[in-house]
Symmetry: D2
Subunit: 348 residues, 4 copies
């Protein structure tokens, strides 16, 4: 399939970090025109005044979201808080726009589970089944035809990519998985809150949400889907004093000690443009994916024991959000999958 | 017991972070006189010229270590690389000085194991049995009489304090423990190395030594000692972009689901001056112990499952090194255990 | 003068960084009892729940400020936003309490100027003359008898200490001074605001308030007072990605090129417990005063030219706020001036 | 002029930060082939093994520099320590290669001055006159024809761009300029040195080289060249806890108070692709140019006085080094000037 015209793109809610990151990637894409960028609270403010890094690159001002205007777009990205996209999805789909939701509204298949974890009624549960979970490494074919795409969460992306080969192959004990995840502070979003002030979050480290985090059911659903059997997981997220990056340290008990795990991982991801399996013995650093859509993975079996340790790193704002959204857009509209996503990480 | 005179203290090798931290604590102690501070490489340099934070507080210059001079001290601290203290210990002990080694020379009971992990022959294996492992929460009575004290490693301190109640009580499965540990960069010491440059270590996160880290046998030895049965552990250290602090996230499988873990922990540490069990549901932050000798612990059982998650934080340079050394000195010489260690953390 | 009893201390508004820093210092002081800690918004919350670094050290909960209760204190600290102390000062003074205001309410002698820069009417302009400006290096004698003490601002402390010898001696051109100042983020306080989020303030540097900053008239007033003639100043503050610390880089044109500036500075501060003039050629680092009440100064004349460069560093929360407040309390009540303030900086 | 073939590029010494940054930019350029990357110390090591951010993008290994191989390149970049390029320049020029030196070897026109500041004899003083100083905003026409290009220093780029309009117009007093500059730590390079360790350089701020810095004569030479009269300057560099970025705060005395400085700056840079003059009252942040070749400038006159304050920010590794080098290559070889340099800053 060839792209004969430039895509017309709308972005709802681009005042946060995933929004500005989406803009950074789209202005480098070359195949899209950004037609409208909305924000209720910032109506009239030039986007580049809020984000001076975009001066000279984005000339639009924020406008109030309008279904008519958005409905004329080929694709509408939602870079909004949870609970926004579900209220506009039906209308936009009816007008022919395709939707990529960077929030959580369409990630879970079960409305009951969604309402339990997200604490509000779901506005369009009937769309949950139709929505396609946008992890290309699992769902590429379904993504091509998706009208409504649920872009995965940041933690779920890093954890699933790290565990997929072990789960698909049946090698790991599905009942005792541990995902110890560390995220940069941008994962908390761009909301004023004392806990994320510089003087609170720098030079310190802490776990949070140990009792239960919204990404837990998403990870379980994803891993269960690929193996057809219930997967259980202990998931502990941590706040790390860095801007971007997720480092997932994954622990799995395996019974077969003679499997070549390195080969398993390399084969699984041989054709994936955005998963890089490092050579034996390596330890990926989050900065090697800073600003990049790459996921880098290393697999270890310490002391030759029964516990496999997988290290998986992504940039939470790129492969964990805006970059994966662009990757999904590329797949949905027939662009080269890595178009606009080929830049190396910013290093150092 | 009363202290009638001020202790005469010697410090071997105070050019690193544990050394300068030891000086920071000792100048506030009030019961000691620092008689000599040695460094072969910096002979003649005033200590306060290297560490301007000590201007006006430490008037000594570094001198070349001399057994005669050191032997006249009541206690000699070794804040040296591994392999130094073992070459001077015998001589100093014979002259009547007591020794507190902040390095690893006397931490392991088995010379064979030590030589395997530290890659050099041990200079005085006959002293290993006599050496007392200085974790006061386990060994306080033996510490009182110690002539040769092995100050615990930073990771082993945080991990053992976090797991002790579960191991001593027999609640945890001793074969599937996981210790996912995150350390500030000062843990790597004050040696020039590209990997620990600011531009390399900031704004990034990585695991290291997944295949095997020297603190693993120390942790196993300590936990095995308290329960009398072999304890196995997967231990993964990570480098975190902060100066000080260790956060240990500990995973243990428990069979008895009806035990009150909060009560277990509170009771175990009720009389410990430097272990603080947080209320139910809390998540300790490393910055709450920055510059302090405190270890703060929280215990969780996510989703009511079989995996217990313990969060344990210390300052790697204080409770993980120099502070614990002073605590041990206080015990050994009959000072109040918290003398010189009562300052609150520097916050923010 | 001897202190026969412990001081009874009240703190109004201790939910911010200067408040918690004041608590950190007072619990180590040994000569004071903290009787009451107030906060309207946090009434009932245990102080140590908001600031876990104080667990076990501060048992009070925040209470609503009450003039009767506060009036029974020997001294009341205001660690409040600007505009609070001026509304309570008269009443407390009448009840016999002495006041140390860490905010700006009583720093300027001119109510007109105050109202221009702080944007609100002054509630008790009649007290401005009586208030003593608490820079001990200038006003020590007046501080002893002060009933109402205006604790200096952070920038003004670093700038005045850096320039005093040049201004008092008449060496500097009083019309062309430049103060290029860099502050850690804690200087902005503990208020939720997007601009001070970790992801906004880290790994970046910017000037702010170039058009005019409230500390400008305070600096001018202070320098004018010591020389009796109008001093003019270009003052540019900058936000630096660090928690604590101010670095003032001060530029002054001097006509006499044969003066020994090093001797001038050393003599001026020879008896000052908290001003440390570094040896020739040194460059002070803010971390050498982290958590300490010290101001470290170096004086340079690059290329032997007519522009003198003075480098002056303090911890904005200590010598620039809470530490200087305790120093002033010590002077006011006859304690040793460095009581509770003798700890070395936390380094690294 | 049209480019009909891809350029053949050689890079000498790409193991440092300017080298890896040059690689990051060149792999996105599209008009060049990287033929050879040299390093004596790392011969044989795959470049992407040292810099994993380049995995899959750079397949070369480091080789020992060879004049024959390099001489066949259209252009050779030197990303080496000072003193390397001058020893290879003559030979490469004779073989027809054009040279872009990112080090300082050809920046100063006077060999005497160079030898004074760089502390070694110059190997080819006869080339100094021929070398073109690569500040496109001043020298664009001469750069087109340059065989030997001296890429400007990072501080000099930010300072000159900030002061050019004031100097060219004759508005500023040329004898009392002050450049107070703050640099991220990557400016110190990728050499192992204790002073730039994470634990030394983070959470702190300091000036350095106040007595004299090598960039001072370069700045003076550049400003003197544009106005034809001697310019004097007090230049104080500072080390800032961030990876990338320079913030120059520039102070100039002006006599004419009725000039529209904003218009002056906007007009001067109206056609410059990489200089962005911000609207009145703005303060540029270094993060708005992180990873970008842009220089953002704001001009202020505080309190309407005689001192103008100019704020100028660049990324020291891009506009201050590798980006400007690519910009110069584009000019020299007839590419669009912003080819490979159009990416927005990484924000946050």
């Amino acid at each position: 399939m060839t792209i004969n015209k430039r895509l017309r793109v709308g972005i709802v809610g681009a005042t946060g970090y995933t929004g500005v990151e989406l803009l950074r990637l789209l202005v480098q894409h070359g195949g899209v025109d950004i037609a409208v960028i909305t924000s209720r609270s910032e109506e009239g403010m030039p986007v580049a005044e809020m984000f001076p890094s975009l001066r000279g690159l984005v000339d639009l001002a924020f406008t109030v979201p309008d279904e008519g205007v958005l409905g004329e777009c080929d694709v509408v990205f939602f870079a909004t808080p949870n609970g926004t996209a579900m209220n506009m999805a039906r209308g936009l789909l009816e007008r022919g726009a395709r939707i990529i939701d960077l929030a959580a509204d369409f990630r879970l298949k079960s409305a009951v589970l969604w309402e339990k974890w997200y604490g509000m009624p779901h506005a369009c549960p009937e769309l949950l089944e139709e929505a396609v979970y946008g992890l290309p490494e699992v769902n590429r074919e379904r993504i091509r035809g998706a009208k409504l795409l649920a872009n995965p969460g940041c933690y779920p992306t890093s954890v699933q990519l790290g565990l997929l080969p072990l789960i698909e192959s049946g090698l790991a004990d599905r009942g005792s998985l541990v995902a110890d995840c560390k995220s940069g502070v941008s994962g908390a979003g761009r909301k004023a809150a004392v806990g994320f002030l510089y003087s609170e979050a720098t030079d310190s480290f802490k776990a949070y949400g140990v009792g239960g985090h919204r990404h837990l059911p998403e990870i379980k659903q994803g891993l269960t889907a690929v193996c057809g059997e219930t997967v259980d997981l202990t998931f502990v997220p941590h706040l790390t004093p860095m801007i971007r990056g997720i480092h997932a340290t994954l622990y799995a008990r395996v019974s077969a000690l003679d499997v070549d795990l390195q080969a398993l991982y390399e084969k699984r991801y041989a054709n994936e443009p955005f998963v890089d399996v490092l050579p034996v013995g390596n330890h990926p650093e989050t900065r090697t994916v800073r600003g990049s859509n790459m996921c880098r993975i290393a697999v270890h079996r310490p002391q030759g024991g029964a516990t496999v340790v997988v290290l998986s790193v992504i940039d939470n704002l790129v492969k964990g959000a805006a970059g994966q959204a662009v990757q999904n857009m590329n797949i949905m509209f027939g662009f080269d999958e890595n178009r606009g996503l080929a830049q190396p990480a910013l290093f150092p």
